[in-house]
């Protein structure tokens, strides 16, 4: 039922999004098939809309998967070194292949994201004190170390400008031909849907999973691979979007619980809605200029994150 409202809301926001921009496009322009209006819609507005929806959905689902397989509500690609590793991978690919193609960047950032996340999971397994707050803090620390490494090499090789452009997520650069890589995350999102029951069982812990005959390690590894690919794809095309994978699954968990089969739809829809709303906001606050969406998401997201932290304390 709630999903219906989320879907309706998404449609409304999508329509608003299409008609917001420096170049005024009205509904009548499209109906009369005015060349310039159609061109803007097809080349810029719709690609932007699609990329926001895909990124919003897939990053939220990434967070959901991470939280399930680490059994910690505050772990997400941003707090588990995944995103930072993806960025390091991109810097490395630029160092070795001065004009790295998108595919190169993709391959490198994916392998680094995968390695970084596995490193985090290995550390997680080793530490005895599994405090709810301690684990994401550890992930953030590890992420910062990796991020500093990336920045160091970026300075050494004069790549700091390109490296920083991925720091802040931004949809302003999205035009036709530069976002299609994002489509790669769609099959992975479908895979996540198919695995939703298995991720739920994995979320009950290794002992529980073995008891129910689930191949725990395999499911965890598949989860990490899905998260790493999606994260690197999003970082390459859009940039870093903080907090999204952290707060969206947490909000859904409060009212829908953690049965993924039930909550994964709501998570995907809410993620798309949230990101789209932030994007619209980032476009109208200092109209006709734009604030990077990463900034807007960061500001709003950190407040929601704080609220979730305090709520958990008192609960």
């Amino acid at each position: 039922m709630k999903n219906k409202y989320l879907l309706l809301f998404l449609v409304i926001l999508s329509i608003i999004s299409i008609f917001i921009g420096v170049k005024e496009v009205t509904f009548a322009d499209i109906l009369s098939l005015q060349d310039q209006a159609v061109l803007i819609i097809l080349q810029s507005r719709i690609p932007r809309l699609i990329s926001i929806i895909v990124a919003g959905m897939s990053m939220s689902i990434c967070g959901l998967i991470m939280q399930q397989i680490t059994r910690n509500k505050f772990v997400s690609p941003t707090t588990a070194a995944t995103i930072d590793s993806a960025r390091l991978g991109m810097v490395v690919s630029l160092i070795f292949f001065s004009s790295a193609s998108t595919f190169h960047k993709m391959a490198f950032s994916f392998s680094f994201a995968l390695a970084g996340t596995f490193l985090f999971m290995t550390i997680l397994k080793r530490i005895k004190q599994k405090g709810t707050i301690l684990i994401p803090l550890l992930g953030i620390m590890l992420g910062n170390v990796i991020d500093s490494t990336a920045t160091f090499f970026a300075y050494r090789y004069d790549l700091i400008q390109s490296a920083n452009s991925w720091l802040q997520g931004n949809f302003a650069m999205i035009i036709k031909g530069r976002y299609e890589l994002l489509y790669l995350s769609i099959p992975l999102v479908i895979l996540a849907f198919l695995y939703s029951n298995k991720f739920t069982v994995a979320g009950m812990g290794e002992d529980f999973s073995i008891n129910l005959g689930l191949n725990y390690k395999q499911v965890v590894n598949i989860g990490i691979i899905i998260v790493s690919i999606i994260s690197s794809v999003v970082v390459i095309t859009v940039g870093r979007i903080p907090f999204l994978g952290l707060i969206v699954p947490n909000i859904v968990s409060i009212y829908q619980g953690d049965h993924l089969k039930k909550s994964i739809w709501a998570t995907a829809l809410l993620g798309a809605n949230f990101l789209l709303a932030c994007d619209i906001l980032s476009r109208i606050i200092i109209f006709p200029y734009e604030i990077p969406i990463g900034l807007v998401v960061g500001v709003i997201g950190s407040f929601i994150f704080l609220y979730l932290l305090i709520r958990r304390r008192t609960a």
Binding site: S196, L212, G257
Partner: protein, 251 residues
């Protein structure tokens, strides 16, 4: 029947479980007792594939543990441990429905739901089936997990310290349920238990471990004996017969 042969677990240079051989008879409650660090839980975990063994074999109905497929074994044997550390937000009904995971991978058929409903009513959880686990008391949670195991419909049910953190009322409730699972549904139950009086009143067979080895095993009459328990626990334990139960006094 479950047969354990020369089972051994080594941590560092300590043999936590040392060359243990035993048999679990069908249709009985078997209790593992013994002091802390005797290797009871380790033994139970190895017998149920939660823990890798260093040496030895476990035969479940004649087939070695490693020969079983994960999914088939999950229909034969269920193990529950550490009830209290799950922090996933599921309703009781959702949790119990995962007991059918080995059969349907989460896409439950009408028959699966029948098992879920039966398990819920068996554990008297029907009224609160839509409550989330984090809203439940310790006793209710425990019942929910046992309901999941009932829905899993295995012949063998292993429980690691099922009475942990329960008050007397709920502890008795759980033990009575285990008793009726054996008597009414013909299940085979193996528990690790610390309270020897609960072991004495509710189990059919007792296996006492000490320092990773079996110190004694046998029926209640044989094990709940001053001399036997005194040797296992290194303390004076008096035994009184009260209403046909052998009660230990050691306070």
């Amino acid at each position: 029947m479950i047969e354990v042969k020369n089972l051994t677990k080594i941590y560092g240079d300590k043999r936590v479980v040392d060359n243990v051989s035993l048999e679990i008879k069908k249709g009985k409650i078997t209790s593992f007792i013994g002091p802390n660090g005797a290797g009871k839980s380790t033994l139970l975990c190895m017998m149920s594939r939660l823990l890798k063994k260093n040496e030895g074999d476990v035969y479940i109905e004649g087939k070695e543990l490693s020969q079983w497929k994960d999914k088939d074994l999950a229909k034969k044997l269920a193990i529950l441990r550490q009830f209290n550390n799950i922090n996933i937000r599921l309703t009781i009904r959702e949790l119990v429905s995962f007991g059918r995971f080995p059969y349907s991978e989460g896409n439950l058929t009408d028959e699966d739901w029948k098992y879920v409903d039966e398990a819920l009513s068996y554990m008297k959880l029907k009224d609160i089936e839509d409550k989330y686990l984090d809203q439940l008391s310790g006793g209710q949670k425990q019942r929910a997990y046992v309901a999941m195991v009932i829905a899993q419909n295995t012949d063998y049910i292993f429980l690691d310290e099922p009475l942990n953190n329960l008050d007397m009322k709920h502890a008795v409730e759980i033990m009575k349920i285990l008793r009726s699972l054996v008597n009414d549904l013909g299940k085979t139950v193996v528990i690790v238990i610390h309270d020897i009086n609960f072991a004495s009143c509710y189990s059919d067979y007792v296996i006492a471990l000490k320092d990773g080895r079996i110190a004694h095993e046998g029926s209640i009459d044989h094990i709940i004996e001053s001399s036997v328990l005194g040797e296992i626990y290194d303390m004076d334990i008096k035994i009184e017969n009260i209403e046909n139960n052998r009660i230990c006094i050691y306070y």
